[in-house]
Amino acid sequence: MNPFIHELIAHYNQWITIFLMVSGLYIVIAKDNMVKKLVGLSLFQTSVYLLYISPGKILGGTPPIMDPKFSVYSNPLPHVLILTAIVVGVATLALGLALVVRINEAYGTIEEDEIFARGEEE
């Protein structure tokens, strides 16, 4: 195989993961809408999960559920860690959204820059 394509496949996961992660981070920092920021935050977290799961895969392996028919299993430990991380992520999202609802009731807007423009927050 062409070495360039080989290199691409070997690191394609990492390239895309990096792109997803950075895009999520960009949304969180650049946007002012609080809901969109939280969406960006959860994209950012989800792409980090990919960084954990990708190295756990063995090409030609099967899911880590034991069966006499198979002998090569992918690594179960990253899966466990990411299960925990997903739960943490949704907990954070729920709390963040609850705060957004309350902020909307208190300020009448969910755009950060509008709230800052009133000048009471410096």
Partner: protein, 207 residues
Amino acid sequence: MEALINMVLLTLLAIVTIGVIRMKNLFAVVILSGIYSFLMASVFIVLDAIDVAMTEASVGAGISTVLLLGTLYLTKSEETEPLHKPYVALFLAAVTAGALIYGTLGLPPFGAPDAPIHLHVANRYIENWKEETGVPNVVTSVLASYRGFDTLGETAVIFTAGIGVLLLLKGRKSPGAETPDMQAEAVAARAAAREAEAEADAEDNLS
């Protein structure tokens, strides 16, 4: 074949992400983030992480989407154009990307069976499951037994979020909240900020 499906799904993920960045309608953004979660779940299946895929599909595409839509129903559905230019964000994102590229390219290649993570801690879980836990789904046995304390922590996080949301949203709205005046106030503040910005731009152009 596995690698090919994986690449196609990942490319789709990247496209959806660009959509999320560019869309202004928040409903569209929420639906795209649901699609993102489903695609991610598919990637996890290809990567043999079926427990994770199941969770990501039910949580990311299910519960999260419901909560996001619920929030949009209570607030509003259009994003307004940010006042400031996103240079800072672009810069920070570029720095992070640089660090990640520098850092992760030295890691073992995708799918290699001799990477360190396959050789050290995890092999015990796969080799000794029968004598030590007797649970064929190794993910369950690691989750609930070997690293059971992490899972207690995870349950505690859910508990924290549950009580937290109850504390924040239970009971009646505080009186006087969200009056039309406040919305007018927000619009006025925004208009003023825009004018100031336009003036600053004009001055920049003059000089």
